[in-house]
Symmetry: C2
Subunit: 336 residues, 2 copies
Amino acid sequence: MARRLGRRSVTFDRPAAIRETANLAGPMEFDGPLGEYLQTRVDDPYFGEESWEKAETRMQEEALRAVLRRAGLQETDIDLCITSDMLNQCTSCSMAVRHLDVPHLGIFSACASLTEGLYLAATAIDAGTAERVLVDVCSHHEAVERTYRFPTELGIQRPPTAQWTATGAAAFLVEPDAPGPRITGATVGRVLDNGIKDPYDMGSAMAPAAVDTLVTHLKEFGRSPEEYDLIVTGDLARVGSAIARKLLRDAGYELGDRYTDCGVLLYDAERQDVHSGGSGMACSGLVLSGFLMHQLKEGRYQRILLASTGALHSPVTYKQGESIPAVAHAVVIEAP
Amino acid sequence: MARRLGRRSVTFDRPAAIRETANLAGPMEFDGPLGEYLQTRVDDPYFGEESWEKAETRMQEEALRAVLRRAGLQETDIDLCITSDMLNQCTSCSMAVRHLDVPHLGIFSACASLTEGLYLAATAIDAGTAERVLVDVCSHHEAVERTYRFPTELGIQRPPTAQWTATGAAAFLVEPDAPGPRITGATVGRVLDNGIKDPYDMGSAMAPAAVDTLVTHLKEFGRSPEEYDLIVTGDLARVGSAIARKLLRDAGYELGDRYTDCGVLLYDAERQDVHSGGSGMACSGLVLSGFLMHQLKEGRYQRILLASTGALHSPVTYKQGESIPAVAHAVVIEAP
């Protein structure tokens, strides 16, 4: 059984290993600083389909099929498939998995879904309810922008705080006792709302939830930041990660180079015109499945803390004057 | 640890008990055949708020607060809160839990979210990652109709296959070793799509997924239908449950009176003008938290199988010509 460390944190008795990953991404992501760690480049935003939403569905399905292929497994070898996406009513993952013979659970914590999924996969393995679990997240720039904000075709001007929704899908095969980086612990997020109402300023909306999870994690685990080679938030980007760094300092944690953010890492903000940086479920999905997995496998990082962050809004909520709640779930991943 | 029975089914080693429930519902639900088992009647569809969506958010929050109050617990006594709703991007649960100090996981399997949540709660308790788990689902007729179909204000004519989205919220407090009906096993659903494209015919879209889960459950558990006092699907309503009954017969299972459906039970279809019957996450949420819990506590049912069913579509998908995938997750609930 898992060991509880306070109300929100656990260590897993039977650590789940990330045995294999697969990812697909668009040209922006391949042309970014971490492009060399990505696998399949999709240049056509329609991916041969009739709509951006159908392209996202196909990316999701291809990522799931690719991770099975890379691991030499069949669909029927999978006990549980946990997926998420950012389309209205999580439809790209539902549409993708209908073609696969896998038991399926849909989850949603916006861009924090990756770490929610990895936490649930590790829980299932610890409970013995599943042995082989797939976790998959996906976002598609054009499809998600029009789901959350304005019709993408309008080309609405974006303020400097805006983030660039990543195009990509990332799938993870999680198994106990397999070679690969291990998920050894986790801290579940609380939903916090600090009153930000601008859907183009998600970094400010999400930073307090990220810091709440990171500080709770360090306290409940009784660890200092120095016990991690890297502490990385999901997609606060430049605006949000600067706020997070300040809030962490206020809480007594000076993280320096030990802290970074997937939204900062994924793109070259100066060269790629992404304003504050990356966002979308694929943001931390691509950074983990590509760069971070590589560093962990090579032993350059022995232990990292990944806290994906999610802004829990919709066009309906902000048109009704609501502010943007946010959440961050953290998982500890250790080198094999 | 849980014991796996085939790829999709498990029994829990440490059964999670549903210690307490709370629900709120609208006048239609209170005036239905199961109204006497419901708790808090909300006559105003706005629930004192400015919009139907905000009313749904308030119902969700009130259900969570009510279940804590009924159990004599504080927010900080909760280790995990698993919620779902049917608004664009699951916002009513996110907006509701931002006011509560609870670790939160968002899930989404449309109207199958109730049983997904109960399965995950039982898994968490079996793994030891949580001791006290809240599961909450919510739907609001006016808010959900305009999220999934057409502006509710238009009063679009509904065909006979249409279902009536229930207004209500249902919260469940799940704990190990507590008095109350116990979740002793589960079967996770596969996403199936049999080509139905009409968002007003969800029963036909969902019936095959429900039957797939029920048949898999009986086979993997090695049980006959007679070992259950009731086998109840989530919200296939009259159209879908008739199809399910036929498909079950084709598979060799003649269920007779042992089988029913929450969408059939919740309303009086003749008197209440609900066409095929009830739907929405609240449909199985209200039937379980009210009527079924009462029957289990009174010992009228010793063991039931509840398979909530979800139609995984959105206005975007059906406007793009997509058919409607569906899923059903089943949980075994036994009298205390």
